[in-house]
């Protein structure tokens, strides 16, 4: 079973500060577009991120530095929108590795990014499965 498929209950709880950043970013999205649009954006993040991570792995395998840089750039924007600060840092590091054609360095960074995504996904899924009236208080 890959990390991406791991059940939420297996994910180790992380530091509260990262969680707070994510909650704040999600609250901002709710303010901007309401609950329905927030859920659409979140659902798209949860579908697109694993797809982009797989595509990034393919780029490394094919030695496609430019493709990897572009994917890391897209991922960085999506992660920043969700307040996933550690993912943003890892995306930046992958972008830099790709820009310098250092694809060997990008592999471990991508592994770390996948691991971090599992944590972020768990936090998002907890929030998305909570009743809406409790979300309004956040």
């Amino acid at each position: 079973m890959s990390a991406l498929d791991a059940p939420v209950e297996f994910v180790v709880a992380r530091e509260p500060e990262a969680e707070q950043l994510q909650r704040a970013a999600r609250a901002r999205l709710r303010r901007w577009g309401g609950e329905e649009r927030f859920r659409e954006i979140s659902a798209l993040f949860l579908v697109e991120t694993p797809r982009r991570l797989r595509a990034a792995r393919t780029c490394i395998r094919r030695d496609d530095a430019d493709g990897l840089r572009r994917l890391a750039l897209s991922l960085r924007g999506a992660c920043a929108r969700m307040g996933a600060a550690r993912m943003v840092e890892l995306c930046e590091a992958i972008e830099q590795a790709a820009a310098g054609s250092q694809l060997a360095d990008a592999g471990p960074l991508l592994d770390a990014l996948r691991g971090e995504y599992v944590t972020v996904r768990a936090s998002m899924e907890r929030e998305l499965s909570a009743p809406e009236e409790t979300l309004c208080d956040r």
Partner: protein, 126 residues
């Protein structure tokens, strides 16, 4: 009548975000790549264009160059959407012919709406 904003952005999540911020004030038309955008803009010019700099294939700079070379579209206000927050990026965008620039991720929705209002007002004064 509400102003029409063309959003040229290949990422669906960025388009959704712009909908969330803008569609209560503006009518949005969305394009996923430069060629599609140029075709659509020529058929029905909007009031303003939000143009992603890093489109695949024809990038934002090339789309802008073609817009500015088209007499029917050359006067359109065009705002660059860029993930590059480096010092000097704004100057680089303005020198290339953009009217304004916005860095992604967008964190201040009011600032974006204000910037669009400012560009639209400047256009109406021309």
């Amino acid at each position: 009548m509400r102003p029409v904003i063309a959003v040229v952005e290949d990422n669906a999540d960025n388009r959704l975000l712009l909908q969330a911020i803008l569609d209560h004030r503006f009518d949005l038309r969305e394009y996923e790549n430069g060629a599609e955008a140029l075709d659509g803009l020529r058929r029905a010019p909007p009031d303003l264009v939000l143009l992603d700099m890093s489109l695949p294939g024809m990038d934002g700079l090339e789309v802008l160059r073609r817009l500015r070379a088209d007499p029917a579209l050359s006067g359109l206000p065009v705002v660059a959407l860029t993930a590059n927050a480096m010092r000097g990026e704004r100057e680089r965008c303005l020198a290339a012919g953009f009217d304004e620039y916005v860095t992604k991720p967008i964190v201040d929705s009011r600032a974006l709406v204000h910037l669009i209002d400012r560009c639209l007002a400047a256009r109406s004064r021309r």
